[in-house]
């Protein structure tokens, strides 16, 4: 187990190094950012001086090594727009994004498990059509559109939730529903097919044959075994949710790191974009590891070596 963890962590570090490399190359492709640091009307001498300060006059591999050395210490340079360390700008907004994606993930599980189970248990009934239809709709909606529609209905028309900004739980609800819609759809369909799959298993027939109540069969035998593929999908969805937060946070003016990243892309504030991409990648890697560890909890047959 410890060896497994160590190798996973080593692998994770290598992936992060790779992500930092990609991010460095992207910035290099974006061109020389010197002009962005200079006021209007700067002289060519200023240009040379700032370029030297930024280390952009060094050969590419030297720039890469110094970038990597900084990155490993969490230093991605200063934001061009805010003149603050870009990593701390991103980290300041991380909790807001985590509570948004966390709530979206929570809603995904809360909605998809009952909907998926009902659809599977009442297969080919009205409820099945209803649940799978809702799931398919969730997967087919553009999230910016769903966000706008929810704002129009719940914030402008009925005034139940704030439309943008604000703080506290009420301000997160609409963004979280918007963000989670796609994952809810995907997970509902996943739960449905996982439950149907387990229904076909011999041990379920045995459980029924020995006279267990259907409720007990469902909770003791079906749900537990169906949970493994569901955990996989839900775990993988976190990466999608972090990506989707880009759209949701922008629509709702939500003060998270994804909105900062979009604004930084628009302002060509690449140090902030780099810090954001790396933070996102680290979260995804950590969650993937947690999901794998959760398997072993859910299924005692899985032993990591």
């Amino acid at each position: 187990m410890i060896r497994y963890l160590a190798s996973r962590l080593l692998h994770g570090v290598l992936v992060v190094v790779g992500v930092v490399t990609i991010v460095f190359l992207l910035m290099h492709m974006a061109g020389d950012p010197t002009a962005l640091f200079l006021p209007v009307g700067a002289t060519p001498e200023d240009f040379v001086r700032v370029r030297h300060q930024l280390g952009l006059d060094l050969p590419l591999h030297m720039q890469y090594f110094s970038f990597m050395a900084g990155a490993l210490k969490g230093d991605f340079g200063s934001s061009i727009r805010y003149s603050q360390p870009s990593m701390s700008l991103v980290l300041e907004r991380l909790p807001a994004t985590l509570s948004l994606t966390g709530l979206a993930l929570g809603l995904t599980v809360l909605a998809s498990v009952p909907l998926g189970v009902v659809a599977a248990v009442r297969r080919n009934s009205f409820w099945d059509t209803f649940c799978t239809g809702a799931a398919l709709a969730g997967q087919s909606m553009p999230s910016f559109w769903l966000g706008i529609v929810l704002i129009l209905l719940f914030a402008v028309h009925w005034r139940i939730f704030p439309s943008s900004g604000g703080s506290g739980f009420m301000a997160v609800v609409l963004p979280a529903v918007t963000l989670g819609a796609y994952s809810m759809g995907l997970a509902t369909r996943m739960v449905r097919s996982a439950v149907l799959e387990v229904f076909r298993k011999d041990y379920v027939r045995t459980a029924r044959a020995k006279g267990l109540a259907e409720r007990v069969v469902l909770s003791r035998h079906v749900l537990r075994n169906a949970s493994i593929p569901v955990v996989t999908v839900v775990g993988l969805q976190l990466a999608q949710l972090l990506g989707g937060a880009i759209v949701t946070e922008q629509i709702f003016g939500y003060p998270g790191m994804a909105r900062l990243a979009v604004q930084s892309v628009m302002n060509r504030d690449f140090p902030v974009v780099q810090a954001f991409v790396v933070v996102t990648a680290v979260i995804v890697l950590v969650v993937n590891l947690l999901v794998d560890l959760l398997y072993a909890k859910l299924d005692p047959r899985i032993i990591y070596q």
């Binding site: 553009p142 910016f144 402008v156 972090l242």
Partner: protein, 273 residues
């Protein structure tokens, strides 16, 4: 219909997609106005205004015509980016599975790397660097979407590689290229077509998001994401500009997903839900 096994859902999907394809192909004939024609006297007219069935945008352009023309971009981007993703993914996956060793390790680590960065994050970052153009959007979405194809192709190649018919081909002196082309790839089509059909929908959604942020196709070309973005500042007063293109996207992606589900049930019974 029953004879070829089309169910109701697939029929709805096909109908929706035929409608979109019809709009895209015949746009100049069916659009009532020039989609780029500005008319400040007619700005932000609501749906139902005579001559403007779905109303107008802040520059007085006809929204119906813009949605009709926008279908072209959505379909082109959706299909072309899946072709790019598929071509990159199948090539790399097949090479990884067939050659193995270091090459395999490098390609699969590259896939891990890609999966650690959420799709939209990477697409946004690359789009920002490359700048807005139709070709760039297709490239960005294609390059960020290759991993699934590579994984499936690699897995399939690994399972086929040791089978008798491949051994036999090799014994007969077939080259690696011929073995891959004639014996390995044909085994791949069924799962890959299913993945591709479902991915077209995600690509259309991603393009709409990028265009919504102004990072997709240049502003001069009407796209569904762009039309919605034009209406963002007027959501509370003129809801139709931002919401109607979203319905077009929703119906198109729904059609694709319905059809993709049907294809999956037909071609890959093990995945049936």
């Amino acid at each position: 219909m029953r004879r070829i096994g089309i169910n109701q859902k697939a029929a709805v999907g096909i109908l929706l997609l035929l409608l979109v394809a019809f709009m895209a192909l015949l746009a100049p004939l069916v659009a009532p106005h020039d989609p780029t024609l500005q008319n400040t006297a007619m700005r932000l007219k609501p749906p139902g205004t005579p001559g403007y069935l779905l109303g107008t945008d802040p520059l007085g352009r006809d929204i119906l015509s813009r949605i009709i023309y926008g279908s072209r971009i959505s379909l082109i981007v959706g299909l072309a980016s899946v072709v790019v993703a598929g071509a990159v993914g199948i090539t790399l996956g097949t090479i990884a599975g067939y050659i193995g060793g270091t090459v395999d390790a490098v390609i699969m680590r590259l896939a891990d790397l890609q999966l650690a960065i959420p799709f939209l994050v990477l697409a946004l970052a690359i789009a920002a660097v490359l700048g807005p153009s139709l070709r760039n959007v297709i490239l960005v979405l294609g390059v960020t979407g290759w991993v699934t194809y590579a994984r499936v192709a690699r897995g399939q190649v690994l399972s086929v590689r040791g089978r008798e018919f491949v051994e036999a081909a090799r014994a007969l002196g077939a080259t690696n290229g011929r073995i891959i082309w004639r014996h390995v790839l044909p085994e791949l089509w069924a799962p890959l077509i299913v993945i591709a059909s479902l991915q077209v929908g995600s690509m259309i959604l991603a393009e709409a998001s990028l265009s919504f942020f102004g990072l997709g196709v240049p502003p001069s070309i009407p796209t569904w994401g762009r039309i919605a973005a034009d209406g963002r500042d007027y959501v509370t007063t003129s809801w139709w500009v931002a919401t109607l293109p979203g319905i077009a996207i929703f119906l198109t992606v729904l059609g694709i997903n319905l059809l993709g589900d049907w294809l999956r049930d037909r071609m890959d019974p093990t995945l049936r839900g």
